[in-house]
Subunit: 288 residues, 2 copies
Amino acid sequence: MGIDSIIEIIESSQEMQARSEVIRLSGKKIGLFPTLGFLHEGHLELIRQVRKRSDFVVMSLFVNPIQFGPNEDFEKYPRDTEGDLTKAKGKGVDMVFMPPVSEMYPAGFQSVVRVDNITKHLCGRSRPGHFEGVTTVVAKLFNIIKPHMAVFGQKDFQQLAVIRRMVKDLNMDIEIIGVPTIREPDGLAMSSRNKYLNQEERKSALSLKKAMDMASKLAGEGERETKNIITSISELILSYPFTNIDYINICDPDTLEDINLLKEQSLLALAVRVGNTRLIDNCLINIG
Amino acid sequence: MGIDSIIEIIESSQEMQARSEVIRLSGKKIGLFPTLGFLHEGHLELIRQVRKRSDFVVMSLFVNPIQFGPNEDFEKYPRDTEGDLTKAKGKGVDMVFMPPVSEMYPAGFQSVVRVDNITKHLCGRSRPGHFEGVTTVVAKLFNIIKPHMAVFGQKDFQQLAVIRRMVKDLNMDIEIIGVPTIREPDGLAMSSRNKYLNQEERKSALSLKKAMDMASKLAGEGERETKNIITSISELILSYPFTNIDYINICDPDTLEDINLLKEQSLLALAVRVGNTRLIDNCLINIG
């Protein structure tokens, strides 16, 4: 069975734009689920959330080269187009926008959409250029697909914050829906990169969730100094084999700036390498 | 008579967006004429061109602070709101979007739209940050006003090229209409900044047009070396009192990169200070 018999696929931005314009003029609300693919249960929850709020759901399926650094995993990023299309169809996606790289970045391409301050923290520190790549491709997808709303996972907390900021600053008339992280039964956040983990690494990957639980417990017991919390949970993570900490930050959930003392609501964000696989996770810590 | 009795004025981006969405859904084509104001005959020609192609014409009237450098003329940029509204109404503008600066750039604003390569030449060299300010505000205006088409003057040749590039690269579904420069009877390009010129400077301002005429004549006589043409016309300009050359470039009209020999079509672009007033002009030189 050819993949185009599963669901309607559009590869040309101009054709997608023309189709979207007609859908908008018919009065239907377009919902966008943008993804790099290799769909897991976390993604399917995103589709469910946008499906129930909109009349016509478009999934964009595009591994965006400009959001990967030169030493990152663009080439080997896991891909399963046929599986993704089947899952998308099953969850009620109406149309897939799946452009080749040359359609998105033809010769002569030279424009950038950038968010400044909040991209300088957390992943922005360890992945220079990453968020410029994200905001540029998302701005393009918004202009091509013309959605009324778009859905993003809270697992990429900073990405969600950056996109909300871009939408607000540049007056994009699009509702951004953030969806809570879906986890494996033992607590590991769902991620396409979990596929890279071998059996031993998979056990160590749980250290991120254990660290977040410990942080909430310490806060519940009255600890307010973020550096004490970070020290304790760093030790916990490093007690697991194959772990390397990229960053652990406790910050303001709006500005993403580091804080010394817990606020009423604080964001704990982690990026940890387990073997060669970089995992991220985050949680809000509330004190009351 | 209050200015709001002349023509409908909208100050809120959200209200403008909602109004534009209704107009689009009614099937009408929206045309945008974005301006800093102080309208002259050149602007009115832009309105005429967009008026005849669209069903509903919106003029945005906004002196955009982020496209002016710290030592430029933002504060003293000429303003005549009531005159502008009257002229716009007379030429068939249907609605004016006139936001306060705080509406366009509220606290926390931190996003930028940037075009890279072609902004590095000509005015980009002498006005760092200028084009980032232009592309950012134009992207915002496009998202707020949701036009099907927008009109820009060819007098700002580089600005027009930069906006076309942004629209193409970021897949904005908007037709960009470039309109030829309108000139005074003696040849001076219409510009809001001409108002700054005193009587003597006004005479020297004509040196830009004289230089362009000389360049075309030299090319017609067989001169192909751009440096010879630039030397001759620089001498001509400097023979007028109060003139200072900011730049004179002959370049590829697409990339705006300098060229050594004339091509079939080449762009001559000039920026000259006459007294304290910076004037720009340009023309295409065709050789057969």
